[in-house]
Symmetry: C2
């Protein structure tokens, strides 16, 4: 049924070892022999069995990527960065989704490890002690991609979320706003949640603006929660004039919530987000936001992983990439 290396060897009149060599591009094969083997492979339609190869060589040349949330808009771009570098180093990558459920994330990590991947990328979710515990059972390197662990013990590639938020709010303050609301993520989320909230607080503090807790709403990162938050803000006695959303998707919800109430962005209300998802350019007005270098986050984390897999020594295992304010049309000076 299935044709094996042995069949090819017989067909070509050589030994299995030789076939193995040509399949693996080992230079120690006479060109003529190589040709014979290739012909036999062609004739028989031989396809190497990666499972057997993995068992024998103890390497699978594949890295597993766990995606806590496949619907996350950042994901595709990060994945592209990962893949480009992976291809460059001849690794296959396999993606596994975990639906944002911690239990499933752990399960997926274990599945990938059982499959003997040569390395693991954990992308953009919250990293708990349970995760760390699962990571610790691994004897292949793991790097966090677009996230970090609080303790800072794992290799990781991410931006400085606190400063990103800080810069966004500074932009609003720079335009003269003082009543600045925030639509936050859950504060249990260190990166997209807590850190961004801290950045908001710091920017206000530095400008001598008192923090007004009634101006902070916790959302769930989704569009709808942006709408809800803004509806709440609009009913406040003393309305804010600007809102900082911890993610673009919530920022876009905010824009629409404001527009649905008959107000205009940015004339009546300025809105700024973080992430620079593709949709930020697919909304009216175009969203002003702080861009994360998604592609680079993916590329750099994969590059870091290749080094770790090759046991090259890396100077800096926690890298922080730069974010950038993207000025578009959703922020205006206070009227």
């Amino acid at each position: 049924m299935t044709v094996t290396i042995y069949d090819v060897a017989r067909e070509a009149g050589v030994s299995m070892a030789t076939v193995s060599r040509v399949v693996n591009n080992n230079p120690n094969v006479k060109p003529q022999t190589r040709k014979k083997v290739y012909e036999a492979i062609e004739r028989l339609g031989y396809r190497p069995n990666a499972v057997a190869r993995g068992l024998a060589s103890k390497k699978t040349t594949t890295v597993g990527v766990v995606i806590p949330d496949i619907a996350n808009a950042n994901f595709a771009e990060v994945a592209r960065g990962i893949e480009d570098i992976a291809n460059m180093y001849h690794y296959n990558i396999i993606l596994c989704n975990a639906d944002k459920r911690k239990e499933k994330e752990i399960r997926v990590i274990n599945t990938l490890l059982e499959k003997q991947v040569d390395g693991l990328l954990f992308m953009g979710g919250v990293v708990t002690d349970e995760h760390i515990q699962a990571f610790n059972t691994s004897n292949v390197p793991i790097v966090l991609c677009a996230t970090t662990d609080e303790k800072g013990t794992m290799p990781s590639v991410d931006i400085d979320h606190e400063t990103a938020a800080y810069d966004a709010v500074r932009k609003l303050i720079g335009e003269g706003h003082t009543r600045i609301a925030m639509i936050s993520g859950t504060l249990q989320d260190p990166a997209n949640g807590y850190a961004r909230y801290q950045g908001y607080k710091r920017a206000l503090e530095e400008s001598g603006i008192a923090l007004d807790e009634s101006l902070v709403r916790v959302g769930n990162y989704r569009y709808e929660s942006g709408i809800e938050a803004v509806q709440y803000f609009l009913e406040l006695g003393e309305r804010p004039t600007a809102v900082f959303a911890a993610t673009d998707e919530m920022a876009i919800g905010a824009i629409h919530g404001i527009q649905d109430a008959g107000l205009s962005v940015p004339e009546d209300f300025s809105v700024i987000g973080v992430d620079n998802i593709r949709m930020a350019s697919m909304v009216r007005p175009l969203l002003t936001t702080v861009a994360q270098p998604m592609y680079d986050i993916g590329a750099v984390s994969m590059r870091l992983l290749t080094k770790l897999m090759k046991k090259e020594n890396v100077e800096q295992a926690r890298v922080t990439l730069h974010h950038e304010l993207i000025v578009r049309n959703s922020v205006a000076p206070r009227g």
Copy 2:
């Protein structure tokens, strides 16, 4: 270094076979023995090696999913359907992206086959003869998911794109529109391209509306091409009053292009799309569109694949799921 089934056997004072049995939930093990083995596993931190297991059993309990375009908005929802069913049948799924490049799609298919997946899902891309040829070298079942091959030789799960387009255009006609433009996909794409164009033509024909080729623009499925198309329409002497876009993303581009020109949707211009991507509800006005049952497409195709993998006999290997018109706010009667 790595602990194997053999180590566990020694530690528990049983044979490898017994350890294998408990790991695989074979009922033929005395509870007491089972307990001993579990304890040994715990003590040693044993993790089964899926590669070795795959080689020995000739099954990997994993199915590969090739994703021609990871940025495609439908993808996440389809993937969710696939996964839910896969979990139900205890299959792991591994995703492989191919960046919409045919050459890479073929490569990914081969990689997955080399990895000895038990089945393959090819999701939503154009299926060429080269694809078919690659599929034919497989000795595991393959099903097309959210796409079909022209010849109709492969198992597949999809909607009827021609009728979906037809229904969308009928809706426009029902509202009194007669000058109806279309933003099409590339006509080489049988499903999202050609079939939807055919549906457009049929709807016009049936209503006695002459096809005006100047009202058809070919886009590339992306937002920007929706904007461009509509800019072109707006410069026409006799403007259309409604536009049918072959995909929601182009439809949303159309909405914004119209708005950017100072006109209103749907007052000045009706817009309808196909797909019902999540963003269709994240735009103003909300997009009227024809919904594809993405989750179901994923779920049904995975279910079909499980049957094929178990060699159960399936009555109908090409299934067509129903689409549905979702009336929202982007279509109005002709003014």
